[in-house]
Symmetry: C2
Subunit: 489 residues, 2 copies
Amino acid sequence: MEHPLFIFNTLSRKLEQFVPLHSPFVGMYVCGPTVYGDPHLGHARPAVTFDVLFRYLQHLGYKVRYVRNITDVGHLENDADHGEDKIAKKARLEQLEPMEVVQYYTDRYHYFMDQMNVKRPSIEPRASGHIIEQQEWIQQIINNGFAYVSNGSVYFDIEKYTQHFHYGKLSGRKLDDLLATTRELEGQHEKRHPFDFALWKKAAPEHIMRWRSPWSDGFPGWHLECSVMSTKYLGEVFDIHGGGMDLLFPHHECEIAQSVAASGKESVRYWIHNNLVTINGQKMGKSLGNFITLDELFNGKNSLLSKAFHPMVVRFFILQAHYRGTLDFSNEALLAAEKGYYRLMEAYQILNKIKPSPNTSPLSMEEYQQKCFEALNDDLNTPKVLAIFFELVKIINGAYQEIESLSEQNIQFIKDLYHTFIFEILGLLPIESQQSTNLLEKVMQILLDERMIARHRKDFETSDRIRQKLNNIGIEIKDTKTHTEWKII
Amino acid sequence: MEHPLFIFNTLSRKLEQFVPLHSPFVGMYVCGPTVYGDPHLGHARPAVTFDVLFRYLQHLGYKVRYVRNITDVGHLENDADHGEDKIAKKARLEQLEPMEVVQYYTDRYHYFMDQMNVKRPSIEPRASGHIIEQQEWIQQIINNGFAYVSNGSVYFDIEKYTQHFHYGKLSGRKLDDLLATTRELEGQHEKRHPFDFALWKKAAPEHIMRWRSPWSDGFPGWHLECSVMSTKYLGEVFDIHGGGMDLLFPHHECEIAQSVAASGKESVRYWIHNNLVTINGQKMGKSLGNFITLDELFNGKNSLLSKAFHPMVVRFFILQAHYRGTLDFSNEALLAAEKGYYRLMEAYQILNKIKPSPNTSPLSMEEYQQKCFEALNDDLNTPKVLAIFFELVKIINGAYQEIESLSEQNIQFIKDLYHTFIFEILGLLPIESQQSTNLLEKVMQILLDERMIARHRKDFETSDRIRQKLNNIGIEIKDTKTHTEWKII
């Protein structure tokens, strides 16, 4: 491929050129949601981050198989090996069948991701849909000597594993440190070592989501599904595994251990992690109770918000930060993002209204394109791309006020840049649907022309009446030297 | 419950009062799509039919758990026990992993059903997500003596079953007649009797979708998933099982046999079937190659269509026929439905413009409400409901032209009727979103008022210019005695 994309690999802790195993095919797996609550900003960030990577890889010509799972069983409270299944608990509290909870929140997740223009993955497998495959893996790991059965549950044997392999290579954690911070928890007595983790859990009698197995009626451990489903659909070794940084340890560390213990191979070539969303400097998360749902963001109903924000504004807000930096939420930051978003999109509209300069412009447009590609190739630097576009916005606005000049060709080139980078790769779209906006714009133009005709015949009664009536319905007009502008207030 | 709903039960072949097993809870299972192609009218009809039943039951106060499956494995060509899996074949032809085909067409199905305002079911289980449960059923049926293993596959033993139970009770088919019409097909030699059907199929070496089992690496038979998933989520006996009439035999007949053979009980209390969509009198179906996809209907790109039809028009078209009659597709029928739909929705808009009559109206509004409920209670007679509304449309239009009179109270009552029956239960919605329509309407009103002012001062140049300019952008205006109407052409 011609475009050298460099991306930060958490495993090597450095920027690496991205070279797929079987170009032009790319396999990408991203950890999806545990569907027991409404999606919040902490879900939107990885979804948007890897959506942009998905879009960019496709733009570069790769054929990407993008797998993002739905965790619908096995994810216990506090991400631990004991306690209640998150979905079963929600079902119990709301007196629903667990799969009703799963369906409802999966639909909600899809709905809100659609609103944010996040593309659907190629395959969206569910943990509960791959019980047999998970059982086969467990048997394989037992056969290879890296897991043991204890009271109907199966645990991964970390001590045995570390005799041969490096547990902690992704996260950099050391076993001794882990030992020091491990608490004595319920169910721990079944384990040989406190840091062993469950591959299969025997279900308590009241547990609804359960399947028969050689070891007990039970359910798979949470870490297992991602190993099993990623390799089922992408192969034993594949290109990219993504997710939020909060999943780095223990979830992704355990995935590596599972793959190596089952097949002797590490599956993932590039581990990519987005950083967290913070609120007042603290991680935002459902388990921490300080999260803002996307529903609240989009309808404004949260005491931290002064107003509702459009999904495209939230997407813009996420893309304004580099994915490896923290994204600190505040109402002010969103207001600023909203202003930026509209400035960006208004400039695109203004492109159609600029009087092209007949002179050849001195601007080198190819340079802007080049800089955008360089930014994306430098570890997907989306804030840099936006900064480059705001340089263009200045030029566009200048040309509109006729203090800069743009040729017909320049204008077309900038439109193409918008289409490639803003709409296609960053996935930001103008807010109103083209059709209804168009008709309203056309009718407004007729009305404003009539007003201008009235002014020309000195009929200021009519022109003032039209202005006043528009104002009454929430449309403000402003006369400039050459034309009349209007906006919805 | 106060509202006696009568519904036609295919099993008893008569109208029966609907009395749920555990009121106010209702369990409803409907056969969903096999996701290997774009949804067409033949998919839209059951989806809309059972959506209306779902909505009506909810309106009556029932708490409905609605389960609709996704068939993503095991459905072989020609609905038979031999040949290629429909999804695997599509994947092979398009060089995709089968689950990519499943994901793509599941997303497409959801997208188009959303367009048609079909509510999502409470649970949408996938066949591939319930392999263990299906294997447990097979083992149970074998243990009970109603199935046998043959060359790694497992077949249901119809002859053994008919010694104890009635195979054909739902469809009215007789085994002798079946024998006479059964052809000698590939794989038939494994069966003891030609009408035995597969519960488990041993996978050919090239078959991708396969799971280990006590009998062979293979996949479940198509009929099994619905028995297993309906009872898993709704209980051993539940209220309603719906689907298209084309599924009555053998699919639903086999479901009954499977339930009885496994548990000794028939699961379903009310079998409800919608009739087929025909095109020139012939069934429309993917396997027949004469289908029109929803995508084509909505964008007009099919040689049988003169134009694109809005999803709400297609929904209206489906509801204009009773669900147990055939629905014959033609472009003319859709054009007529479009006219009817707009007439219905325009009348609702006009309600806001009527000058209320101060006199008490002689109309008994409660009577209309009563008649609508009677129509729905009479086997979900949606065309009757629409006919009642068209009586109201006449009155609304008459009141607008001031040849009939409606009191303020009448107008509010009619609005309430629209909300209950048209929007909530039939699920028909006005086409444009309220907000953008409103602004356009307001601006249009200002412009038309200006035109009227110009006419009053005999400035016909201005009034004609405005008319002409509106015409140029596709808006037609028409002067009546009292006001000016406009519409988008």
